[in-house]
């Protein structure tokens, strides 16, 4: 499989199915593991890194049963391909920008990715569309068991799975759920939600790990603590919180509709209008406008565009995706012009291919 073949598809995390998919975008569980007989990555020289890679490669190649994994030597990929994998949530920024031998094994469905020689020797990730964090845990737990049959991981009775950074020690687990919260951001209630989450040891980050001002109103909620709690308790903590936040978001949307329907409708329609007409547009503005349109579609304020297309556009207008789809390198202003033209094209196609609507029948 070539990375270029992935570009037209929208990957697992923005597939748009699953329960509460209008708000819960995706769920993910990641486990950090290290081989017992090697130093951690930051202390390993290149020969050791290659040894680690070889050992893990032979041990993880067939753990995914029906789907065989595809390996990418991340150190040999060019910048564009690395950025592309980051945009698809298949590798971390750290693996992309790291040094020395490092790789990733990806399932063709893009729901599994195993990173080798990131901060830890192995990071197993399972990612599902929609709200399914417990299912992610069950899957990654099985993968971990299979790898563990073949290698010896660094583990101590006292501290659990030993990791390069003590912030991951114990379970080595980071469980997260990505939420789309435009109404809570718009009504400035989001900070209150975050403060409440911090009190119960949950962290909030933006789409690509950035701070409070999240791109496209996408927020990732994850556990801060990896030691002293069982994996089950960590998952349960998230499961308690997510439905509550989903309800807050729905309530905020309802009250926006009730109290400010015209203002909201105007905002959403303007966003849609700009995306259909702009001649040059940055990634940041695109994300902000798509966020409004996404909410507008979910609230039936916009009725001629399907949610899948909006989900598609979120990923396809990212810098590396855009360049892959256009088949050429694009920098700065050229990229913004290409992005605007891509948006106009995709959003005008729906009108050309659209069947007669109810409103025309009326």
């Amino acid at each position: 499989m070539d990375l270029n073949d992935l570009a037209p598809r929208n990957g697992e995390w923005l597939r748009g199915d699953g329960s509460d998919a209008d708000i819960v975008i995706s769920s993910r569980v990641r486990l950090a593991r290290n081989l017992a007989d090697f130093p951690f990555c930051s202390r390993a020289d290149e020969a050791q890194r290659r040894d680690i890679e070889n050992k893990l490669r032979t041990s993880i190649g067939d753990v995914h049963g029906d789907q065989s994994l595809i390996f990418f030597d991340v150190g040999r990929l060019d910048d564009l391909d690395r950025q592309f994998l980051v945009e698809r949530q298949l590798i971390s920024r750290e693996l992309a920008s790291g040094q020395g031998s490092r790789s990733v094994a990806i399932a063709p469905r893009e729901d599994v990715s195993l990173m080798v020689n990131e901060e830890d020797h192995l990071r197993l990730q399972v990612l599902h569309s929609g709200y399914s964090v417990r299912q992610c845990w069950e899957t990654v737990n099985k993968l971990d068991d299979l790898v563990e049959e073949r290698v010896t991981f660094a583990f101590s009775e006292e501290f659990g799975y030993l990791t390069a950074c003590p912030t991951n020690v114990g379970t080595g687990m980071r469980a997260s759920v990505m939420l789309h919260l435009p109404a809570l951001s718009m009504t400035k209630q989001i900070d209150r939600v975050f403060r409440a989450l911090q009190k119960i040891q949950l962290a909030v980050r933006g789409l690509y790990g950035e701070g409070s001002q999240a791109s496209g109103d996408f927020y990732q909620i994850s556990n801060n603590i990896t030691l002293g709690k069982t994996e089950d308790a960590i998952i349960s903590n998230i499961e308690v919180v997510v439905p509550t936040i989903v309800n807050y978001e729905r309530t905020a949307r309802r009250s926006l509709i009730k109290e400010n329907k015209q203002t909201l409708h105007d905002r959403v329609s303007r966003a849609y209008g700009i995306l259909q007409a702009a001649q040059t547009i940055s990634s940041e503005e695109t994300m902000a406008l798509l966020s409004s349109v996404r909410m507008g579609v979910n609230l039936n304020l916009i009725d001629d565009v399907r949610i899948d297309l909006i989900n598609d556009l979120f990923i396809h207008t990212q810098p590396a995706h855009l360049q892959k789809l256009e088949g050429r390198p694009l920098e700065g202003e050229d990229r913004n012009i290409a992005r605007a033209s891509y948006l106009r094209k995709r959003l005008s196609e729906i009108h050309r291919t659209k069947p007669p609507t109810d409103s025309q029948a009326n």
Partner: protein
């Protein structure tokens, strides 16, 4: 001034050469054995950031085979690296043989 005792700062892991001070500078440990060597310094830190000192989650299935954090093979790898760095190639070759023998003995992974 560091916020930990000087004798702790100078502790060095025999398996990988990391000192506690290195860890405090980078936030990263050098190898699994560091959790044993720096245990006294790590406990208060874990208490603060993790609010716990003990693992209660998943254990490897082959619990009987769980290795101690100290790994003779890893220690040999560290010696090998040092030998190469100081261009003692004969010594390096000897260590390499020892690593291979150990790996075979462990039924190599």
């Amino acid at each position: 001034m560091p916020d930990f005792p000087v004798d702790l700062a100078e502790l060095r892991c025999p398996d990988c050469g990391t000192t506690f001070l290195d860890f405090r500078r980078t936030g990263k440990l050098g190898c699994p054995y560091d959790y044993v060597v720096f245990r006294d310094g790590l406990i208060p830190l874990l208490d603060r950031v993790q609010r716990s000192q003990h693992h209660t989650g998943k254990k490897p299935l082959r619990a009987s085979e769980v290795v101690e954090a100290h790994s003779p093979v890893r220690a040999l790898r560290f010696q090998l690296r040092q030998a190469i760095e100081s261009e003692e190639y004969q010594q390096a070759a000897k260590i390499r043989d020892l690593i291979r023998a150990r790996e075979k003995q462990n039924g190599s992974e």
